[in-house]
Amino acid sequence: MSPGLKLEGVGFAYDTTQVLQDINVTIPEGQFVSLLGASGSGKTTLLRLAAGLDPVDSGRLTWNGAPIVGPSLERGVVFQDYALFPWLSVVDNVEIAIAKAKPTVRKAERLAEAARYLGGLGLGAAIGKYPGELSGGMRQRAAIARALALGSPLLLMDEPFGALDPVNRARLQDLLLEVWEVATPRKTIIFVTHDVDEAIYLGDRLVVLGSSPGRVIADLEVPLQRPRERRSLLDSHSLHALREQVSATLVQDTLQRLKAA
């Protein structure tokens, strides 16, 4: 039994289109992996496979040695479009996750725990509000609180900050790192993004997908110390070098695709 998430020759086709082909990646427990790629490279599909929302067409996909056959509380997901239930208050949205993760805990305690998670993400004053009353950034905080409340050791995040303005985006990146770094044991995170800087700032490792069909075209370590300091990173040579390398890889993939078309 090998710990962590393991993809061995994973492929997925949608109708006749090969979305993912022969993906081989092993992600050890506790690693923060940024999954990069152009739109249409199958990043979201890969995440859905890992979540168990769709079954793989070929290859093997295992979490801690066991094949992934469907969704499980072991693997929490945060979507780009918030996906809180708008008819439930924020605290109820989190409570419903705790109710599934810890069915024996009494309702009052579940609500208190939900309030703690929300407070930890800076939403203490908004727990009684409904998602429609919140800003995009606050909704995404609530969505993260819900995913954390599930207690899943693996967290799958699909461009969770994609719809946010730059300031909120940076704030939530820092918040996510903070929450992730203090937890023991650390959660395994797969963070999908198409923003190279975000991928580098957050991840221990970058997995870059090329498109048509989606396949791994680069797999790089991020040689930056933690905790990371946004300001000093701006001048870091290794960050610039890595960004250049990843951008070049992505551009090359796009050019190849255009040539093939």
Binding site: A51, L73, V77, F79, A83, F85, P86, K100
Partner: protein, 275 residues
């Protein structure tokens, strides 16, 4: 059906941007209040002028507003008793239709197999005008009340059922994914995700169903009731007591309006989260 839904959904838009279409003076609250009653005032005046000045005979089909108002006042106890009698048909029939319409609509709407089984039938049975069941229902069921409840139920059931199916159908992929990730059981999924998500559709169906209920109620009462709103109008028409007949029509209109207003209030309260 869709035309009918549009008709029922047609509401006075609260603050139409009409003010911006007519530059210059936006009407104040008094002006707006006047605008909303102008049709009433014109109709009332026309009615009054017609009844006074047209040679309509001793017992006119168009009694004057004053005579009608007096008839309405005198009939209030009888009309109230009629309302209670009608409600004992309307409420059970509509409530049963709402309950069964929602439960079966959501169950069918979330299962591809149940849709294959039931929707072909619903497509044929749904559009049958429920009024055609009335004579048969009266013949088959032991009491008039039961047959009227049954007919109201049938009339309200289909629009609620069909809208509940449509609402379950319209459920976004992300809510389905979310429910799966949270590991909700089928019942939790129905109760906490599908039902609230389908509520806007369900309320549309209920509004259509309630309007149908009133139509069917009053029509059914023409057949065999000994009390009730439809019965009141028919009874005094038979005696050529037109003031009371017109009073009955106005009163029934008011009751229908009140019922629709109450339903709309419930809808607003329930869908406060809708943006």
């Amino acid at each position: 059906m869709s035309d009918f839904i549009a008709l029922v959904e047609l509401q006075v838009p609260a603050a139409v941007p009409a003010a911006s279409a007519e530059p210059g003076l936006a009407p104040g609250w008094l002006g707006r209040a006047l605008e909303s009653v102008v049709v009433w005032i014109v109709l009332l005046l026309a009615w009054w002028v017609a009844s006074v000045h047209l040679p309509l005979g001793d017992n006119p089909l168009l009694p004057s507003p004053l005579i009608t108002a007096r008839a309405l006042w005198e009939s209030l106890p009888e009309l109230w008793a009629g309302t209670l009698s009608s409600l004992t048909i309307l409420i059970p029939g509509f409530a049963l239709a709402t309950l069964l319409g929602i439960v079966s609509g959501l169950t069918v709407g979330t299962s591809a197999r149940l849709q294959r089984i039931f929707l072909p039938f619903a497509k044929v049975a749904g559009p049958v005008p429920p009024t055609v069941y009335i004579p048969y229902a009266i013949a088959i069921l032991p009491t008039f009340k039961l047959s009227a409840i049954f007919v109201v139920f049938i009339g309200a059931f289909w629009p609620i059922f069909q809208n509940a199916v449509a609402g379950a159908h319209a459920l976004g992929q992300r809510y389905r994914d979310n429910a799966r990730i949270l590991g909700l059981t089928r019942f939790e999924y129905q109760r906490r995700v599908v039902f609230p998500a389908a509520l806007p559709h369900i309320f549309t169906g209920m509004a259509v169903g309630l309007a149908f209920s009133f139509i069917l109620l009053t029509v059914a009462e023409l057949f065999g009731a000994n009390a009730g709103l439809g019965r009141f109008v028919q009874y005094y028409a038979d005696f050529a007591d037109y003031p009371k007949m017109v009073a009955g029509i106005l009163y029934t209109g008011l009751v229908t309006f009140l019922a629709m207003t109450i339903l709309d209030g419930v809808r607003r309260r329930s869908l406060f989260w809708l943006k």
